[in-house]
Every structure is written in structure tokens, then in C-alpha cells.
């Protein structure tokens, strides 16, 4: 699946140097994924919280989970792969689902049966009531569904900070920024947005040690 655009790395920005800050912000503006002018301030506020001293998140490609852009149909397509319907297919039709439901149980097909356990939140806490393709931040701004990490980060700051600093969330690739990039898991890859508690795993088999049986010859 195609990687999403690279996360703009926030360069070291000693806040005392305005020139540096302005040029960095411009770079971030240019590279920011969404069209709205909130990218620089968002990343500055959250990304630099603990690291004024030259730390930057290494070049990473964050995986784009299909759940943010499409819905599983349960059927197989002509290529034998599971068929998914893009959100925009239905939600570009004006007037479709005019009211945002209050509770997950009230959602009708094709989204019925959402298992919701995400604290005291309701649908409107995250979803933009006007636009099903968007999410709504706490300050009222709308962001595309594909920018969901920003939404997660506004409440789960410590985890987001750890995610940027590499101590939360799976990664693959290079530890050395000079020799390669790395691929990061998106929040939604592990945490279902409606039921984010990390699932239980069946562990891999335990070690088969050479315990001393009664002779093994």
C-alpha cells in the first residue's frame, strides 16, 4: 500500500532564534499534508515539547491504514483481494447521512455494528458533523480522515510524544537517519479508533529448553 507523504521533520528550533523559527515554519507549511494553515503550529507545539536541544524525529514514512480511506465490504474483488469501498464514493453525495448519530449503536448500514469503547466520548467528539470525510479537532478545525494522528495526539499527548521519539509504536527500517528511512505504524494500525484498547495476542510458542528428563538416549 502506498506510504503516506513523509512527516515533515521538525528541525531543531531554539525558540530564541526567530529567523530559524520562521524558515522552519515555512518549510513545514510547504510540506504539510493538509491544505489548511495549522500544520506548523501543531507540529511545533506537540513535536518540540520535550526536545529543544537539537532532537528531531528521523525521516519516517508513516503507514497509511486503509481504514481511514475505505470500508471493508466483506467481498472479494476481481483480483481475489478483499474489496473495499472508498469513503468518498458515498460521502461525496450531498445530503447523505445528514445528522451525526449520538451513539455508535444508532449508526445504520453499511456502518452498523460498531463496537464502541473509547471512554466517555460520543461520535461528535471526533467526527465532523458536517463532513463524514473529515475529523474535527478540539479547537473546531476540520482535518481529513487521513490526518487522524493529529486528532489522537491532541488527547494522547504523552503517547504521541513517545511515538515521535521512537518509543511507542512499531517501526521497521533504519535506525540511522543517514543511511535510510524507517516505516512507522500509524496509530490506527494497532488501535481501532472506536475500540482502541490494545487487543490480546496469542503468544508465540514458549522456549523448548533442554529440561532434564529421565534420560534421553
Amino acid at each position: 500500500m502506498p506510504p503516506s507523504e513523509p512527516v515533515a521533520t521538525s528541525a531543531a528550533v531554539p525558540l530564541r532564534q526567530p529567523l530559524h523559527l520562521i524558515s522552519c515554519a515555512s518549510v513545514l507549511l510547504v510540506l504539510s499534508a493538509c491544505g489548511e494553515d495549522h500544520g506548523a503550529s501543531f507540529r511545533d507545539e506537540l513535536g518540540l515539547a520535550a526536545d529543544e536541544d537539537g532532537l528531531r524525529a528521523p525521516p519516517s514514512r508513516i503507514h497509511a491504514p486503509p481504514e481511514l480511506e475505505s470500508l471493508a465490504t466483506g467481498q472479494l474483488g476481481p483480483d481475489g483481494e478483499p474489496l473495499r469501498a472508498a469513503c468518498v464514493t458515498c460521502h461525496s453525495i450531498p445530503g447523505l447521512a445528514p445528522e451525526l448519530e449520538l451513539r455508535a449503536e444508532d449508526v445504520g448500514p453499511p456502518h452498523e455494528g460498531i463496537d464502541f469503547q473509547h471512554g466517555p466520548n460520543g461520535c461528535a467528539h471526533c467526527h465532523d458533523p458536517e463532513d463524514r470525510l473529515s475529523l474535527r479537532l478540539a479547537d473546531g478545525r476540520s482535518i481529513p480522515m487521513t490526518d487522524a494522528i493529529e486528532l489522537c495526539a491532541q488527547c494522547h499527548g504523552p503517547q504521541y510524544r513517545d511515538f515521535r521519539r521512537g518509543s511507542h509504536g512499531g517501526m521497521r527500517g533504519s535506525w540511522d537517519a543517514e543511511r535510510g528511512v524507517r516505516e512507522r505504524n500509524h496509530c490506527v494500525d494497532c488501535h481501532d479508533a472506536h475500540r482502541p484498547a490494545y487487543p490480546h495476542f496469542t503468544p508465540m510458542p514458549p522456549p523448548a529448553d533442554r529440561f532434564a528428563p529421565a534420560g534421553h538416549e
Binding site: R210, A212, P213, E217
Partner: protein, 430 residues
């Protein structure tokens, strides 16, 4: 002039005049061929030992070919029966010094006459110790890696390199002393003190170092709290001074029975006196360890708890250690009760008791608990396999073969000792 048959010790001796023509290598060859002569009982003994040694050799060869997986060891308990016996054998070698000290430092004449037995025991026990190390190696074909200057020798940091040096050095030392004395006796020449007395004095210190270094192998490991005790080296030495004299006393008894030689009785009395002290000190040291472990408690005591009482149903070593304690205590009681220790058969039983008791306590009762529980506090038990028992028996047989051959070679000296004892007795009577 003794005949070839009849005397277990005897073969014909060279005439006094032609002695100086026999070179040292030729003398060694004569010893070996002399070792193949004897009464039927001797042949039975040597054949049995050879058979056991061959069984052990085959088991070891199979183990080398197919891997140490044929043993009961694993990544949790990675040393077992072989290293347990190695530790014990080093102690036995060091214990020979308990004859040397009275003989050379205290000028005990009777002891001086038979001291060669202790030195030959050291040789045989060292051969066993080195053999136990070799059979425990995963890659004995890479033995040359261990040689100084040829391989890479991590001296002085690795205690194992110290052990290689002191064990081989002690072996060479005793081979020289015994070889020189036996050679001189064969040539009927008076040995020159300059060629052996300094080496003997060095061997006294070296014997202590041999067992101290072996103890340091274990006691220096911070990750193994059961071994990481300052008392380990003293314990090793004291228990060596129990088993060495015990084995020597048994040897003297066996020699007396088998050869009919009237060896002097003084050495046995001296050794019994030595053992009266060492067996008590050994028990005291065990008590000291046990107190420190159990009174302190915490996870530090886990290995000791496993050894003495078992943990969570794992109790494989419990019968062993309590048997060892019973044997050591019983042997001590016999030694300290003159009425009992005076009686030869009871004394011999006591010797066997403390010998086996220390073998258990110092071998399986020391090495295995060092690994149980593991460094990640996992409880994995160890039971030796048939392969290990066969190889161990084979190495013991090898040691006894070497010892028997050596004693045979020392026959003239022992006969001198018997004669000297007889003369002393006649002097006292007159």
C-alpha cells in the same frame, strides 16, 4: 632376590653395577612393563579397570561426535557431573600434600618413607582432573587454542588459564619428584637432595594454590550467588585435606592386604590425627555457609533452599546432600572416638564415609546448586545421563590405572619402608 611371580610388587631388579647404564626413558619403559606383571588378582583388577576405561572412552567418543546433548546438561545447568568430579579430583590431588608436610617439614621419618604415595596420588588425581576437563569440552579438537603462545591464552584475567597453569605445573612438579626418586631408587643411587627437596617445598605451596585457583573459578562469579562466597576457597582446601588423607589411608590398608608388606603404622596415625581436625573444620564451614544463607534469607538463599529442602516440588538433590551430611558427621564421630577409630575395619569404613560424603557435597552438592535456580530465577533440574556416568566411570578407571601403575613402580621404595619399619621395631624391642 625376588621372583617375578608371587610378590605383587616384585619384578627382578637390575644388578647394582650395571644400573647407571639405564637411561630415564628406558627406566620408564621398564616401569610400564613391570605394571603388567602380577598375581591373578592384580590381573583381574587391571583388566576390570581397562574394561571400564574403554567403556568410558567409547561413551566420550560418541559424545564428542554427536554433541554434549547426550548429557543431561542444558543452557540452565551447563556444568554437571564432569565438572563436579573435576573439582573433587583437584582436591584429591591437593590432599596429597598432607603427607608431604609432616615428612619434610616435621621430619617424620616413617612418613618420609611412604610420602611418595601422596605424591603419586597427586599425579593420578591430576590426570583425572585434566581428563574431566577434556571430556567436558564441546570442542576437544580445538585444545591447542588453550596453549600459551600457540593459541590465545587469556592470562591473567581468566581464572581458567590460571587453573591450566597450576594444574599442569603441579603435575610436572610431582612427576619430576616421583620420577627422580623412583629413578634413583632403580639405579640404587642415593638421591641428591638438591634435585628434589626444593621442588617438594614448592609443591607444598603449589598444592594450596591448585585448589585455591580452582575455587576462585567459581567464587569470582557475581552472577552465581551460591558460589560467590569468600569461604569457598578455604572450604575447598579443608575438604581436600579430608579426602586426600582418607584415600591415602585406604591405599595403605589395601597395599598391606594385597602385598603382605608390613608398612609402618605411624603414617596412618598421623593422617588420622590430621583428619580429626580437618573433618571438624569442614563441618564447621558447612555450618557457617548454611547459617549465612538461611538466616539472611531473600532470593540469595534460593540455591541453598533448593539443595537442602527442594523448591516447588523440585527436590532432586535433597537426598544426596543429607546423605553427604550424615556420612560426614558419622565419619567425624568415628574419627573422634578413639574406641572406634582404633579398630581397623571401622576406621576404613569411616574413610569411605567421609570420602563419599565430601564427593557428594563438593561435587554435585556444590556445582549443581550454583545453576539452580538459573540467573533468571528459573528452576530447571539436572539428572546425569548414562553417557555421563560411563564417561565418569571411565575417567576414574583411568585414574586408578595410573595410580596402580605408579604404586607398582614405587614398589622398591615401599619395600624399603617396610624394611625400615621392621628395623625400627626390632630396635625398640631390644
Amino acid at each position: 632376590m625376588e621372583s617375578e611371580e608371587g610378590s605383587a610388587l616384585g619384578a627382578s631388579m637390575p644388578p647394582a653395577s650395571g644400573g647407571h647404564e639405564v637411561t630415564y626413558p628406558r627406566f620408564l619403559w621398564r616401569i610400564l612393563s613391570r605394571a603388567t606383571d602380577g598375581p591373578p588378582l592384580f590381573y583381574a583388577w587391571m583388566t576390570a579397570l581397562t574394561a571400564v576405561a574403554l567403556v568410558g572412552a567409547h561413551a566420550w567418543a560418541t559424545q564428542t561426535n554427536e554433541g554434549l546433548g547426550l548429557t543431561g546438561m542444558g543452557d540452565h545447568v551447563s556444568w554437571g557431573l564432569y565438572i563436579a568430579n573435576f573439582t573433587f579430583a583437584v582436591g584429591l590431588a591437593a590432599g596429597g600434600v598432607m603427607m608431604v608436610v609432616p615428612a619434610y617439614l616435621y621430619h617424620d621419618e616413617e612418613m618420609h618413607d611412604v610420602v611418595i604415595i601422596g605424591e603419586l596420588l597427586a599425579v593420578a588425581a591430576l590426570v583425572m582432573a585434566l581428563a574431566f576437563v577434556v571430556v567436558d569440552l564441546g570442542r576437544p579438537d580445538r585444545f591447542w587454542h588453550l596453549m600459551p603462545l600457540i593459541g590465545r591464552f587469556n592470562w591473567p584475567i581468566s581464572m581458567l588459564t590460571w587453573d591450566v597453569l597450576v594444574l599442569n605445573g603441579y603435575l610436572v612438579l610431582n612427576l619430576h619428584i616421583c620420577g627422580y626418586l623412583l629413578y634413583m631408587r632403580y639405579l640404587r643411587r642415593k638421591p641428591n637432595p638438591r634435585w628434589y627437596v626444593p621442588f617438594v617445598l614448592v609443591s607444598i605451596v603449589w598444592a594450596v594454590s591448585v585448589h585455591t585457583v580452582t575455587a576462585f573459578l567459581y567464587s569470582g562469579l557475581g552472577g552465581r550467588p551460591f558460589w560467590n562466597s569468600a569461604l569457598l576457597a578455604p572450604r575447598f582446601l579443608v575438604s581436600a585435606f579430608v579426602t586426600g588423607p582418607a584415600f591415602i589411608i585406604l591405599t595403605l590398608r589395601v597395599l598391606r592386604q594385597a602385598t603382605g608388606l608390613a608398612l609402618p603404622g605411624g603414617p596412618v596415625r598421623t593422617l588420622v590425627n590430621v583428619m580429626r581436625i580437618t573433618v571438624l573444620v569442614n563441618l564447621f564451614m558447612v555450618l557457617s555457609e548454611v547459617f549465612t544463607e538461611f538466616y539472611t534469607g531473600g532470593s540469595h538463599v534460593a540455591a541453598a533452599r533448593y539443595l537442602y529442602f527442594g523448591v516447588d516440588g523440585h527436590a532432586a538433590l535433597v537426598p544426596w546432600i543429607w546423605t553427604a551430611i550424615a556420612l560426614n558427621v558419622g565419619g567425624a564421630i568415628i574419627l573422634l572416638t578413639p574406641a572406634l577409630s582404633k579398630r581397623p575395619h571401622v576406621l576404613e569404613a569411616a574413610m569411605v564415609m567421609v570420602f563419599v560424603g565430601v564427593w557428594i557435597e563438593k561435587g554435585m552438592g556444590l556445582i549443581i546448586p550454583g545453576f539452580v535456580p538459573s540467573t533468571l530465577h528459573e528452576l530447571v533440574e539436572y539428572i546425569p545421563t548414562r553417557t555421563e556416568w560411563m564417561v565418569t566411570a571411565g575417567v576414574w578407571a583411568l585414574g586408578l590405572l595410573v595410580f596402580t601403575v605408579a604404586l607398582k613402580a614405587a614398589a622398591p621404595i615401599l619395600r624399603d619402608a617396610a624394611r625400615a619399619a621392621q628395623i625400627r621395631r626390632e630396635h625398640e624391642e631390644s
